[in-house]
């Protein structure tokens, strides 16, 4: 059930990215909601959930993109694991932690992806792509941090309340 929920959330994020987000695109770029979810899951739930969300979300995004199946899964898994690993060291209640993590995390994830697709023959100009894609996507993702962050927290609260009731 939990696995199905992860897949459903990721498919919904990819559909939103393919449709609604295209209307709010900035300079032809759209936010990467899957990366936002992966990083925030790592922050809230830790290393393993961040990793699993990264693999699932990355594969689904790759599948819908249709090329380089697995590249997104690897880059998102890495960033999910990193945010989960780093969370206990930095995570507090400060309001700036989620947006900063998403900003830096997106930059890292997109850079890993860029290097990975170039390693498989894409030949994108690295410096130019950093300026024209990686940096703006990080900024765009920050806009969606708080709605997604509080939705994830609310879902977690519902889940834990359900668990408590069952236990009782």
């Amino acid at each position: 059930m939990k696995r199905l929920a992860i897949v459903a959330v990721m498919i919904a994020a990819v559909i939103l990215q393919s449709t609604i987000c295209s209307f709010v695109c900035w300079k032809g770029l759209k936010p990467d909601l899957v990366t936002v979810i992966v990083i925030l899951t790592g922050l809230i739930h830790g290393l393993v959930p961040g990793c699993v969300m990264g693999i699932a979300g990355g594969f689904i995004l790759d599948y819908f993109t249709g090329r380089l199946l697995g590249a997104g899964a690897l880059s998102k898994m890495a960033i999910g694991a990193l945010s989960g690993w780093i969370a206990p060291k930095i995570f507090g209640d400060h309001l700036l932690v989620p947006p900063t993590s998403v900003l830096v995390g997106t930059w890292l994830e997109q850079t890993i992806y860029l290097l990975l697709v170039n390693a498989f023959g894409r030949g994108l100009p690295v410096i130019r792509s950093l300026w024209t894609i990686v940096l703006p996507v990080g900024l765009l993702n920050v806009i969606f941090v708080f709605p997604i962050y509080y939705t994830l927290l609310a879902l977690e609260r519902i889940r834990s309340q359900g668990g408590t009731r069952e236990d009782g």
């Binding site: 393919s18 449709t19 295209s22 993109t65 249709g66 090329r67 997104g72 697709v117 498989f120 994108l124």
Partner: protein
């Protein structure tokens, strides 16, 4: 056996890593044919894509109406004036149309395409910022085939890359896999236009040694490449790099069609 069972997480990770790297390698160049499952998944999701796009379009439309309400009265007066002007222009155009039809007949001119183009709505775009593609709500059931040219009245958009029964994926001209023959409208010089994978930017390379090209030149399609019909607008030259010693000329072309926002396209058969 015990050695393997004790180390299964490491072995599983290594095997998974090889599988993923293999997958990336196999799918690096893109596949012009969809698998059965991919086709069915895309067709199955088409109504969801369509519904979400419709809802978004509805809200976008009404948000625009509300935002522009304060200008509506002034706009109304301007439009009434415009209608009068257009009526006069229409009368003149009708006259010209008649004359044009007569002249075409006289010259024995035939329309290049006897088959009417297929109209399609864009229901989804690439979820990734690294690849340029769109998905349209027409597929093999509507007679579309991979390779068909996709255009708008403003210019070329791309070509059909894969098609399922009710949807088709369009490879945009800005995709880094895209390349087609074109010509400089002013001088007629043949050129190659390539996608860069960098949003709405195209790269132009000359196909002859001394090409006559300037900033601001219009680029149009050429039927030589067998992809697009002759003379469709592509874009405008915005930058020219003549390279060291002027030997390796490349130019940057800004496409006429806003590929990030195009909503309706025509498919030429």
């Amino acid at each position: 056996m015990r050695w393997i069972t004790a180390r299964w997480p490491v072995l599983a990770t290594i095997i998974a890593a090889f599988v993923v790297i293999g997958l990336i390698y196999v799918t690096a160049e893109g596949r012009p044919e969809l698998t059965f499952l991919e086709g069915k998944v895309r067709d199955g999701l088409a109504p969801i894509y369509g519904a979400v796009s419709d809802v978004t379009g509805f809200f976008k439309h009404w948000a625009g109406v509300i935002r522009n309400y304060s200008h509506l009265q002034q706009k109304n007066a301007e439009l009434l004036e415009e209608i009068d002007r257009m009526k006069r222009k229409l009368a003149a155009l009708e006259h010209l149309e008649e004359e044009n039809a007569r002249l075409r007949e006289d010259l024995g001119f035939y329309q290049a395409s006897s088959v009417p183009p297929v109209t399609a709505e864009i229901i989804a775009r690439s979820p990734s910022n690294w690849f340029d593609k769109i998905v349209i709500n027409r597929g093999t059931a509507h007679g579309l085939e991979p390779g068909d040219a996709v255009v708008t009245p403003a210019g070329v958009v791309g070509r059909i890359y894969t098609a399922s029964e009710r949807t088709a994926e369009v490879m945009l001209i800005a995709d880094d896999r895209s390349a087609f023959g074109a010509a400089v409208l002013r001088s007629g010089a043949p050129v190659l236009v390539e996608g860069t994978g960098q949003g709405s930017s195209l790269r132009l390379k000359p196909l002859i040694k001394e090409v006559d090209i300037e900033i601001g030149d219009e680029i149009v399609t050429s039927s030589m490449s067998g992809i697009f019909p002759d003379g469709l607008p592509v874009g405008k030259v915005v930058d020219i790099d003549r390279g060291e010693y002027g030997l390796l000329l490349t130019a940057q072309v800004s496409p006429h069609v806003d590929l990030a926002r195009v909503q309706r396209v025509f498919i030429l058969k």
